[in-house]
Symmetry: D2
Subunit: 402 residues, 4 copies
């Protein structure tokens, strides 16, 4: 079967240009097939409801799309380069399967709103899944706090031992931030939570009276995006917001990894790691390296880059759809996959972290602030005065103010 592209009017497209413009979409789009099936079915049912599609055609379309989606999920077909993307692939294969009725689903929509509907449904799912991943790491930290929480730790400021702390305070601090990241991911999904269907190419569907609220309800969007011209203008904002929150999440995980790497040094020696979590050196037999935490730490830089990629992509674009927007997918998908990967491995790896209670000895000087506080309360002197007396006392004991 010749692969005729949907917009084809007969002129052959230069093969190099086709390869370039299709880019990696046919690979990236695998994850969108199921969402396009869902959105296309909602659109078809709305058309039937409005008598713009016969019930018979609607049934054929819905049954056909469902079957295609299931076959794709089973790995029975994949999007081919010549099909360009998930949407063209599904439409072509639907027509192949149920005949010309398959072409009727395109009434009242354009590839522009179709792509966006699938992307938004995917982003909402991704935000939820990543939020669960972040909470999973927080739960692992809670577990660590439960089991080893009473072990004392120095509390650092400026990387200097400053105040008394413990494993529970340390772990729960990170857990709180990861739950903040999960909440941020939920807020981020707001920008993906309005229905683009019915905006078509960005200027509505003149001549076809679509029911935007019907597809909204069917797909679970909170609202209809209005006016239709806002839809394409908003491209990239939901993507950037999601990547931004991923960057905060991976930033927090990277700092957690940085702490563990510091604590795992021979000098700090606050934790041990099980052998099966560390790797060896190719030339230094005595070493066990905590690569897993280094790669988690390093992962934080990736979504910062992806965010810049996204935001630079849309900058200065005039209003209306531009093909440039296709390039939003790669940094978004890359960021989501990395975050899924990193949250999973961090939750897994935390189970192996053991704080070394017997190695930790909090120096008396860590209690200086507490003693100054007590002096203030006991003697009613200003804090500054108490501070100077404790400092003088410490200096006399150690021979130095440091």
């Amino acid at each position: 079967m010749a692969k005729q592209r949907l917009w084809d009017k007969g002129g052959a497209l230069d093969e190099q240009i086709l390869a370039f413009t299709a880019g990696e979409d046919h690979q990236l789009d695998a994850r969108l097939v199921a969402y396009d099936v869902r959105a296309s079915i909602a659109h078809a049912r709305m058309l039937a409801e409005r008598n713009l599609l016969s019930d018979e055609d609607c049934d054929a379309i819905c049954t056909g799309l469902t079957a295609l989606g299931e076959a794709h999920a089973r790995g029975e077909w994949a999007i081919e380069l010549a099909e360009e993307d998930a949407h063209s692939a599904l439409e072509r294969r639907l027509i192949e399967r149920i005949g010309e009725a398959g072409g009727r689903v395109h009434l009242g929509r354009s590839r522009n709103d179709q792509v966006l509907a699938a992307m938004r449904l995917y982003m909402k799912d991704a935000a939820e899944s990543l939020g669960a991943g972040a909470r999973g790491v927080a739960d692992a930290l809670d577990g660590l706090a439960r089991e080893q929480g009473t072990i004392e730790l120095p509390g650092y400021t400026h990387m200097q031992r400053a105040m008394p702390s413990n494993v529970a305070l340390w772990a729960q601090g990170f857990a709180a931030e990861l739950r903040d990241d999960a909440a941020g991911l939920t807020r981020a999904a707001t920008r993906a939570d309005s229905n683009p269907l019915g905006s078509a190419a960005g200027y509505g569907t003149p001549g076809v009276d679509v029911d935007r609220d019907a597809t909204r309800a069917a797909l679970g969007f909170s609202e209809i995006q209005e006016p239709v011209t806002a839809v394409q203008l908003s491209r990239g904002k939901a993507e950037a917001t999601l990547i931004f929150e991923i960057a905060l999440l991976l930033g927090d995980l990277g700092r957690l990894a940085a702490d563990l790497l510091l604590y795992y040094t021979q000098e700090f020696a606050l934790i041990t790691l099980p052998e099966e979590m560390t790797t060896g050196s190719s030339i230094m037999p005595q070493k066990r390296n905590p690569d897993v935490f280094e790669l988690i730490r390093g992962a934080a830089s990736s979504p910062v880059g992806a965010l810049v990629e996204c935001m630079t992509l849309t900058t200065k674009l005039s209003s209306g759809y531009h093909r440039d927007l296709q390039r939003l997918k790669a940094p978004l998908f890359r960021s989501i996959d990395l975050a899924e990967n990193v949250t999973g491995i961090m939750a897994h790896a935390l189970a192996g972290v053991r704080f070394q209670a017997d190695r930790i000895d909090l120096d008396d000087s860590l209690y200086a602030a507490e003693r100054a506080n007590e002096l203030v309360i006991r003697e009613g002197i200003p804090f500054r005065e108490a501070y100077r007396r404790v400092a003088a006392d410490l200096a006399s004991k150690t021979g130095s103010g440091d």
Copy 2:
């Protein structure tokens, strides 16, 4: 008067190092004075409530701080380099004014949570003010839609004339996105909306039983940030979130400016601008340049850079306070000021934009999609078939498929 720094124990700090570490804080911090006054008063009252401060001292502190804040607002004093920042300046001047009681306000807090309290109060105000600015531009666009909304415009996709549109649709699309930005700014403030007071240096206030809910309520924070170790870990996240939303806002304004610049070209000629809004050329007497919109367009790149600056700053930092965090202020303040500036000027400049109704003539081909839709509905043929017929019809008229 010798300027003794709060933490000074007698050793003279190297002058070069003081200048470097104080940096530009003494200038940047001017905007924080009022917020520190507010937070310090809330803290003092809480201490008095807990009997950690006498009512007399509390009154002296509150009166003194209020007076200092008012004097600062009137420009009667400014933070000096040797004072380093707003917090040290206020404390020093308070002691100077009311005597040693001024030092008692520092009980149960550290500069770390003090700075953060002022910063968060400021960020909450800034987010609200910027949201109002964004809505102000949206209102200006609504005005434009009201007055010139019925003027027809081509709706573009791929920068090509695609479908019929009009000034109202164009203006309201941007207005909707600006209101989305305002909503995003409100959501961004969430991360600044929890009380850091009581976390002190990041490990609480051993020996001093502070009432974190009292300061929370007095300052209008939605919640207490817990545990205390989360407070310093979260540094930079509220800042980055606010800058991110500013970047989206300036991104939208930049795209609005890009449209206006395109429409102001002699070739598009969709709009005119009043002479007092354009500048001349130094060598081409015939020209009137729309510099104001170019500088708005260019402003979008600034917060993207500031965002990277912020996010790169906190990456890989181990837990606990680090002085690096001081460098969050400059990109944040710069972004806020720029956004205030740009929203103000855009709302102002939009008043001068006139769409040229008489220059705009929508070609018949823009109605092709509508005609294809009608064919589908009238004849019950699939959209693809209707599409091909309209295309053939257009090609026969123009001698070309383009």
Copy 3:
């Protein structure tokens, strides 16, 4: 065959952690196989020269590596996940092929300097190839200047018609910048042009007297990187420099695309594109869209993101090797591949661009600056005075100062 990792001392590595730490390296590293073969052969020959390896073993190693490299190039084997990367894969397969002698090549080097040697050889080749690509586009622009160069064009400033120009000036301006980018790529290669071999893990090869100049000469590096501690410190700088220059190159190509997209609008209508280079719309039969140039324009944002990713990755790392550095590969390779892709397609697509001589009519006002200049020279008046007279003259003709 059991895949024993080189550093394996018997402890089984957690499978999830292996999958995470190996990451996508086994896929990314395909392009490094040939370079590792080259560098390993140079290292083996140096060892033999120093009598640290028998000539027989050296021959077996070199023959074996060459054969493995050729087999890889023919697609006969690929790096497997369990092998982690190109270097482990080659060493394991070499031992499999020639026996224990295969293990002798690792004397006097570590995976750290081995990886870097292959990466730098690759980066030098990539810089050269991308430079050729940039010059290829410049040549295509020269061709355009030769064939259509005399067609007049308005010269724009502020997107406003300003001065007379022509296709040659337009095309050669971009060609000059692309050649500047090619020169920048050559300069960028400087940072990849020093020999890392002999630095081993970053602290040299105590006990093994390697000849760093021999491997330098064999591999064509300009110098030896010294001291050995600089080698790992420098990681990421060559990568970032190359990505930066790619970003400038794609930035220039993006601006060239932006011009073409503007000139292709119906309003500017300065150029036409052949049908086989444009794509159709899925709902607007009359349209032909210049997607290829939109995707080139959009490509410029990708290396800016990759650059941030690289630079954020190395920031704050203490000295010495860290596994985080593995994450430099993906953004680098992605940027190189994209730039190869975009330069190729731009050179190809420029061949289809036709300036429409008959559509272009330079308004008299574009000659205002020239006339002012002539007035100055003829009448000896200051330019400002001439400027005011020409302006007044133009205003009287058009009834307006604009």
Copy 4:
């Protein structure tokens, strides 16, 4: 005195718009005054040489500009907001001083090439000065190596003690990278090293036969930038290249600071710092904090942001001058000033760093790689075999393979 803007034809510019478009240029431009004086004198002399300016006018112009430059350097005048920038300020004041002849210097140039000439001269100086700053830190490291170089240090990989090293190797590794940064800054200046004068607004000087080589030679540029259309297209590339190299420089300094901060922890305790280089805590009297190195570490993020700001600014701009480009100045100047500041303070602070010879004890295991190497050479076994034997030996001694 009324401040008439150069391009003024009588229409009053909206005051808000003037304030917005002039922006902070009148402040930023102070550093450009001296360069504009130099470039304007070169231009005037060229005009006189070509008989486009009388010798008398030329002398008056050159004398007047020199006097104005000197007065500015002495702080006798500053650019005012209404003058917008350095160039307008100088021209207005020159006319005020020498009469209408002052207006004659504008023949054959535009503000576009005038601004660029000053900017490039400044950038060349800045690159040289920053290179000297980088070498200054390298020299300080050399001093450290001379004085404390023989003190043994652990060489780390993965933050784990790996191999024997010493202070000289540590310091010289950073010194080499800083000299690499200085070399990079020199290469970066290449993009600022071509003469823009004669390109005027971007399309040459029709009607005025300027001698571009004369101004090139007078100003010390290596070449003439050709064709004239390349000049404005290249805007931002020299700026970005300089900021990029600054980012590498501050990146290296940040990593040096990160090492020092790690070594200054009580746990590593490899170094001490003099009291006058550390600051105290506001609530913990026992602490001395290394703020200076934290602020150096944090400084690395600023130019990464500035780079993104610059590169995002020029992306997608069509060819020809745009006012957006004015926004290149702030991130560039900010980056240069910060780098001057940081190199200066780092060279100063390094003088206070003392490695604690008596605290450092290299564990026997650090010599494992060396011993494996010796085994290979002594017994002729493959490295992998020697590695396994040394590993087994170490494990038997310590009871563990870690």
